[in-house]
């Protein structure tokens, strides 16, 4: 058991960190207008091989694994990189896991090169989190499948070229590949609370091709991977949020002294740090578990439940300890809290993951982490 990165991983982290740092200054301008991210930065991310990081070499990927992916995710979280990296990687992984050979050969190199932006369109208004599609119906006709219904809110769908749409195909939920610019696909884009854009997608007889045999099982696997990666992104964001707050306490003066002289505040900063480190342990563990043992929904729920709890704690306290400044868009801290608020309900809320853990609480005596 070893929680440390090896030299290659450290090199990857440092490279990603400087790549993202270079674009961080332009963030405010980029997020102000649609699509909320920068194609030029996207190109640099692709160039570094990050879009194909976890894809096999035959699809122009780098053949890396979960550890490398969460390294990137954490760096993204640290500076709130607005590019839809994890969204697109999730789509690519779903294609890799469930697509036909043809679909893989067609889509994956295009995604890895940055040419094609693909996202999974699964969210539906008022749908409980899960793998079932309710609001979009797939119908097979003479000319193939068509989809009708509404997907919303789908993050970054407005700037996607390809949508992987889950739909009710009668007896089961299946995933379909849809050209985002095809007839019968109408997208309305709007902002999300964390300065990104999401879309309402109205499908009206849109042409669709089944993504291999992808159904609920494939979605479950995809979600469990993404949950680990999202937790890593949240960890990065929490790291910055705690660091920024501690710096603020050291420098901001009130009643003639720095805030760091108020014991009640420093104790709360200590509690934030405790939360951060516990979450870090969970993220590292779930990453190793994913890398060595493959997808495990229980592990994914464990890390999500923990990170939701800590993201809320840290997101709330970071603003409170900043005081009024923390409420302003000018200060960075509020954006971290906003991002954490969104992250802790992406692919299930903390309460939903805890409910999943509750359902399995009698399956074991003590939780065994080792061996």
């Amino acid at each position: 058991m070893d929680f440390n990165l090896d030299n290659e991983q450290i090199a990857l982290r440092d490279a990603v960190r400087s790549l993202l740092a270079a674009s961080a200054d332009g963030r405010e301008k980029v997020v102000a207008t649609e699509p909320g991210w920068d194609r030029e930065v996207w190109g640099r991310i692709a160039e570094m091989g990050l879009l194909g990081l976890t894809l096999p070499e035959e699809y122009d990927g780098a053949g890396a694994g979960a550890i490398e992916l969460t390294i990137v995710a954490q760096e993204i979280g640290r500076v709130l990189t607005p590019e839809p990296y994890l969204d697109v990687v999730a789509a690519a992984e779903l294609v890799l896991a469930a697509g036909t050979d043809e679909q893989k050969a067609d889509l994956l190199p295009r995604i890895a090169s940055g040419e094609t932006v693909a996202v999974i369109a699964h969210a539906e208004p008022r749908a409980p989190f899960g793998t079932t599609a309710y609001g979009v119906t797939a119908t097979e006709g003479a000319d193939g499948w068509t989809l009708s219904g509404v997907k919303e809110p789908v993050r970054h769908a407005g700037s996607a070229d390809v949508l992987l749409v889950s739909a009710d195909a009668g007896d089961q939920t299946r995933v379909f590949v849809v050209d985002a610019s095809a007839a019968g696909v109408a997208r309305t884009t709007y902002a999300t609370p964390d300065e990104a854009y999401a879309a309402r997608i109205v499908l009206d007889g849109a042409a669709a091709v089944p993504l291999g045999d992808a159904g609920e099982e494939a979605l479950a696997g995809s979600f469990a991977c993404s949950q680990v990666a999202l937790a890593a992104e949240a960890l990065g964001a929490m790291e910055t949020a705690v660091g920024t707050t501690v710096e603020y306490l050291k420098t901001r003066k009130q009643f003639g002294v720095t805030l760091s002289k108020f014991q009640a505040l420093t104790f709360r900063a200590a509690d934030m740090y405790v939360s951060l480190e516990l979450a870090r342990s969970m993220v590292l563990w779930s990453t190793m578990s994913l890398a060595e043992r493959g997808v495990d929904p229980v592990v994914a729920s464990r890390v999500q439940a923990e990170v939701s709890r800590t993201a809320r704690h840290i997101g709330q306290e970071a603003i409170q300890l900043h005081g009024g400044i923390g409420m302003t868009a000018e200060a960075s801290i509020g954006h971290y809290s906003a991002r954490l608020t969104v992250l802790e309900r992406t692919l299930g809320t903390g309460a939903q993951h805890l409910a999943a853990l509750t359902a399995s609480v009698e399956d074991h005596g003590m939780v065994e982490l080792l061996g």
Partner: protein
């Protein structure tokens, strides 16, 4: 001890409920219920309806439109108003500067300002906080220097809520920089926001909205008769102002409304036919919040009955502390009920995500301010520890 309302109070309560739910336009009340932002016009319209019925400033002296109500009656007024989704009269007017002018202003000031203030013909804003001062209000640096019949104001205020709508400002300024204590040498000036030299810069908040402002003063000339009370006694008036309004310090009625609405939303079936409220964990959270709101409302009622000398009852710190915690908790509950829908904040009422879910995250983020503005919860704990517990 007596729980039941007197028949007089019970009658007042039902009259108020009738009034608020029938005389204030549904369009305004549904905006409040949806958690949408009220426009300036809506706020003015609501207050003028109340004022016409003599219900805008019940806490003022009777001679200026007040009601001479008991604290309980004022509590009933406030709770019924909030529960009906009626926006409360603008606090800067009704709870803050109005009572100050009524208590300390000259007769001329009273006549000039009070009727217009009650009717929201003048929209006031508060010029207290300054950058770098935060909770340490008395460290303010904006200064006013006497020049003939005028004061010349230079400096900067911040966190000026709704300053972008304001016609006038009541402003704390330092008139004697040599006073031995920082609380001394402060005066309160009233002036128009379109006086030359006043610049307003709205501050964007983390929910994307604008409600506070920076206000800059550059050689702003204020007629001397717009000073409130005595020169260098502004800190007393500020304390009076901040402590004056115990009723309403805890947003009980508004939070009850929000919780009742959250419950309604949690009761609507999802796409698979299940209802969030049927999850016992979520249900338990609702029940717990409801119960804690009961305890808070009862405490507000209990405190409402105490001391009437206009001084801040330190127990009001409990109401502020706990009231804002519960307000925040209920906003967090709404986000959790919204689930994945919560990220559709920019849909602007369109689309298939319900309005309340669209508003849930911005409201949650916006309400982080509740425990910061108006005396942070840390300040409230300090007050409780020192003033009540003697620590």
């Amino acid at each position: 001890m007596r729980l039941a309302l007197t028949s007089e109070d019970a009658r007042l309560q039902s009259e108020l409920r009738e009034f608020f739910t029938t005389k204030v336009p549904e369009s305004i009340r549904s905006t409040v219920r949806n958690g949408d932002h009220l426009t300036k016009d809506q706020i003015v319209e609501a207050q003028q309806i109340l004022n016409a019925a003599g219900l805008a400033v019940p806490n003022w002296p009777v001679e200026w439109g007040g009601k001479d109500w008991t604290p309980l009656q004022r509590h009933l007024w406030h709770e019924e108003m909030q529960a009906a989704g009626v926006p409360a009269p603008l606090a800067f007017n009704a709870s803050m500067i109005g009572p100050v002018i009524a208590a300390f202003g000259s007769q001329a000031q009273k006549e000039r300002f009070l009727p217009a203030t009650a009717n929201l013909d003048i929209w006031w804003c508060q010029g207290f906080s300054e950058p770098d001062a935060g909770s340490d209000l008395a460290s303010l640096r904006t200064k006013a220097v006497r020049d003939g019949d005028e004061w010349v104001v230079n400096g900067q205020k911040t966190w000026t809520t709704l300053g972008q709508y304001a016609d006038w400002i009541f402003c704390l300024v330092r008139t004697n920089p040599d006073a031995p204590k920082k609380q001394q040498g402060i005066s309160m000036l009233l002036f128009e926001m379109d006086t030359p030299g006043v610049t307003v810069r709205p501050i964007k908040l983390i929910d994307g909205g604008y409600e506070v402002n920076e206000v800059f003063f550059e050689d702003v000339r204020v007629p001397a008769d717009q000073l409130v009370g005595e020169e260098n006694h502004g800190w007393d008036y500020a304390k009076f102002l901040l402590g004056n309004e115990r009723v309403g310090v805890a947003p009980v009625g508004a939070t009850k409304l929000r919780l009742a609405l959250a419950k309604e939303h949690a009761s609507a079936p999802l796409a698979d036919g299940s209802r969030p409220i049927d999850d016992p964990v979520l249900g338990g959270r609702i029940a717990a919040l409801e119960n804690e709101l009961v305890a808070l409302e009862l405490t507000a009622l209990r405190v409402a009955g105490n001391s009437k000398d206009g001084k801040p009852d330190p127990v009001s710190s409990i109401l502020k502390l706990r009231g804002t915690q519960l307000q925040q908790d209920v906003s967090e509950l709404a986000v959790d009920i919204a689930g994945g829908d919560a990220i559709a904040s920019g849909a602007d009422g369109a689309g298939d995500v319900p309005d309340w879910a669209q508003h849930s995250v911005p409201t949650y983020l916006n309400l982080r301010k509740a425990s910061i503005y108006g005396g942070s919860n840390e300040i409230q704990r300090s007050i409780i520890a020192s003033t009540i517990l003697g620590l």
